[in-house]
């Protein structure tokens, strides 16, 4: 008992100590930069959370590492971009991005993955093949040029008169609210609805859920749709925040992987924690040590795997 308590203290000292020292130094040095980076990190984290929560949902339920998740993100972004350009409606673009990715996800699940249930490795390889194909088709259609979507009018321009920071982009700030809203929605869906109960039951024990008379295939399809759709929404958001180019799929896939590995696979709360950690680490890295920012991500990955091989919120499979 005392030993585990001491270990925990040691762990927090080891991890928290340097962070605290750095924070104090950075705050004294330049408070505005520190707070700006904090906000940037949190808004990036909410994008990561939206994309990675879909990934973790799918993985938790089906033990299926969907490596085409990044491609679905890109697909949603491009579709959203096209719709926004045609109609000028941002919300419509978001719905379009969600729907496009969700339908693509549904097709993948029903047409291909369902036929190889239980063969984890083969499913993963199929998603790898799909990601190559989807990425190349998107490159074909939308070419390699940068697509930058504009934020809706009511979110354009900065919010002024914030103490210390002075001004901050309204769109980015709204992302924070958006991420929290999606998090709350997912929590509500998983904990307060029947579908959510089924999904949670499936995460814990697939076989038992099927034995209880639930149509597991339907639950799988709905979850895969939801997960893919979340990637699509993330794509539309990211099209404004980060811009769309081929290669972004890899970046978001890496982010999802790291978030899910750090947070614990199959746990939405874990995805939120992982996203915040990764978002902060990436932005602080970029602000304070530009050429080594990836190293921080890597160090976090190593630390988590060393102390908690199944992630912060992960349970034994």
């Amino acid at each position: 008992m005392t030993r585990s308590v001491r270990n925990r203290w040691l762990f927090w000292l080891l991890v928290g100590g340097p962070i605290a020292v750095f924070s104090i130094w950075a705050m004294v040095d330049n408070l505005r930069l520190y707070l700006l980076t904090l906000l940037n990190g949190l808004t990036l984290a909410s994008l990561y959370f939206i994309v990675a929560s879909g990934f973790t949902l799918v993985f938790g339920l089906m033990r299926n590492v969907n490596l085409a998740h990044g491609s679905l993100y890109l697909l949603g972004g491009y579709i959203g971009f096209t719709i926004a350009e045609k109609t000028g409606w941002w919300l419509l673009a978001m719905a379009g991005g969600f729907l496009a990715a969700a339908i693509a996800g549904l097709l993948i699940q029903v047409l291909i993955l369902r036929h190889m249930q239980g063969q984890d490795m083969r499913q993963t390889m199929v998603t790898i093949g799909l990601s190559i194909v989807i990425a190349d088709v998107l490159l074909w259609i939308f070419t390699a040029q940068v697509h930058q979507m504009e934020a809706p009018e009511w979110l354009q321009g900065p919010i002024r008169d914030i103490p210390i920071i002075r001004a901050y982009s309204a769109y980015r700030l709204s992302l924070l609210a958006f991420g929290i809203a999606i998090g709350v929605f997912l929590w509500w869906l998983l904990n307060r609805t029947k579908v959510g109960t089924m999904i949670r039951a499936g995460v814990d024990d697939r076989g038992m859920l099927a034995a209880a008379g639930v149509n597991v295939n339907l639950v799988f399809a709905v979850t895969f749709m939801l997960g893919a759709g979340l990637a699509g929404i993330g794509g539309v958001i990211g099209a404004v925040e980060l811009s769309m180019v081929p290669g972004e799929d890899t970046r978001l896939l890496l982010a999802s992987l790291v978030v899910v590995i750090v947070g614990g696979m199959g746990s939405v709360v874990g995805a939120a924690i992982g996203a915040v950690i990764l978002g902060l680490a990436e932005t602080y890295g970029l602000a304070y040590a530009p050429t080594y920012s990836v190293v921080f991500t890597f160090v976090i990955l190593v630390l988590v795997l060393a102390f908690r091989p199944r992630g912060i919120m992960g349970k034994a499979a």
């Binding site: 490596l67 993963t124 190559i132 074909w140 890899t250 890496l254 990836v294």
Partner: protein, 387 residues
């Protein structure tokens, strides 16, 4: 069967063997000590052991393939020798390291190209290159730089292994992919060591014994020697106690653990060995390309190694080389069939088709054909499917 039956059966068996034993000391022209179970036609010759071993294990197809690869560069054009065969051998060696890890160890690592890239980067950083930027090569002679590059690559592979064996199966692929992509971004963003986006240009093999090893034929034979050595090493290791234990761990880690094997140590050692192979392949590849940039280790290439290994078939190390030849041919000649830009589409569709219809790759297709049209030989190692 009653006890009496048993006894009779035992007795007749005993009688048969004792009769055989009684026959043995009888004067014969040649005193053979060959075991009666498997008649060995080469046992009575005076040839050294290794030659007998060779005779026993060589078949017509080995001789044919060996003769073909030795004569190939003298028949083929330099383009085919260098661009096709040289590249395929280098790529095949990297993929063979994945086949060893995935097929015999059950750990599909996507970071093999990263390990190869680390070896290439180290060679460029320690050795000579025409880098223009913040980072400069140290300019060590090749006989120092190459061993150091290989050692560093092996250490990196061991670390990657140590990290990823903490998790199992499907998690491995995620973690190694994350590590691989992280290294790509590190190489891309870091200018002080990895020279950022530009990478290192003009990294050529040294001129040794008055031979320029970048000429098509010498490079081909260099790649062939390395690949053959790697292939034979894998073939030998999987028959050695270590390899057998590794396959046991692949099939049932808990049982092997219960038997007293150190599962983690075996897995990490497999990563280290695969890392060495990938490192050699990486050095060949950097010499082939003449440069290394972050794009040599991007996600596309991480996945291409897997594509090559799966294309040929993961159950036998030769599959990696077959897959590499098909891959390189597709890469080179897809331009004639369709747009060059669409190569990824072709390779993606081929990969999907293989995974969907023949999970054991081209070797699996071949085995299927053989079992349909001829007697089946136990050619490949059969991993047990886990529920």
């Amino acid at each position: 069967m009653s006890a009496a039956h048993w006894r009779r059966a035992m007795n007749t068996g005993l009688a048969a063997t004792s009769a055989a034993a009684r026959q043995l000391p009888l004067p014969r022209a040649v005193a053979t000590t060959a075991p009666a179970a498997t008649p060995d036609p080469y046992a009575d010759s005076d040839a050294p052991r290794w030659l007998k071993f060779l005779w026993r294990h060589l078949s017509a197809r080995h001789v044919f393939v060996l003769a073909f690869v030795l004569l190939y560069p003298f028949v083929a054009t330099p383009f085919f020798t260098f661009q096709i065969a040289g590249q395929a051998l280098a790529l095949g060696l990297i993929a063979a390291s994945l086949t060893f890890l995935g097929g015999y160890g059950g750990m599909v690592s996507l970071a093999q190209m990263t390990v190869a890239g680390i070896a290439g980067y180290m060679l460029a950083i320690l050795g000579t290159s025409g880098a223009a930027g913040q980072a400069a090569s140290l300019g060590w002679p090749w006989w120092v730089a190459i061993p150091f590059a290989l050692v560093i690559a092996t250490i990196a592979a061991t670390l990657i292994g140590w990290l990823s064996v903490r998790t199992e199966g499907i998690y491995t692929i995620m973690i190694t992919l994350a590590i691989g992509v992280a290294f790509y971004y590190l190489a891309l963003q870091n200018y002080s060591v990895f020279n950022g986006f530009q990478g290192f240009q003009r990294v050529y093999p040294p001129v040794v014994f008055g031979i320029n090893w970048r000429d098509p034929v010498p490079f081909y034979f260099l790649a062939l020697a390395c690949s053959l050595a790697g292939y034979l090493l894998v073939k030998w290791v999987v028959r050695a106690p270590f390899g057998i234990a590794l396959q046991g761990i692949r099939d049932n880690p808990r049982r092997m653990h219960a038997l007293g094997y150190n599962v983690t140590a075996h897995r990490v050692a497999a990563y280290a060995l695969a890392g060495l192979l990938a490192g050699v392949g990486g050095i060949l590849l950097i010499w082939y390309n003449g440069l290394i940039t972050p794009n040599s280790v991007n996600t596309g290439w991480l996945i291409n190694v897997l594509v090559v290994a799966v294309l040929g078939g993961m159950r036998h190390p030769i599959g990696a080389f077959i897959g590499a030849i098909v891959f390189v041919l597709l890469q080179t000649f897809a331009i004639d069939v369709i747009d060059r830009e669409r190569f990824n589409l072709v390779i993606g569709v081929v990969f999907l088709a293989i995974v969907l219809f023949s999970p054991d790759g081209l070797l699996g297709l071949w085995a299927k054909l053989r079992s349909r049209f001829g007697p089946q030989a136990a050619l490949t190692s059969q991993p047990r499917r886990q529920a």
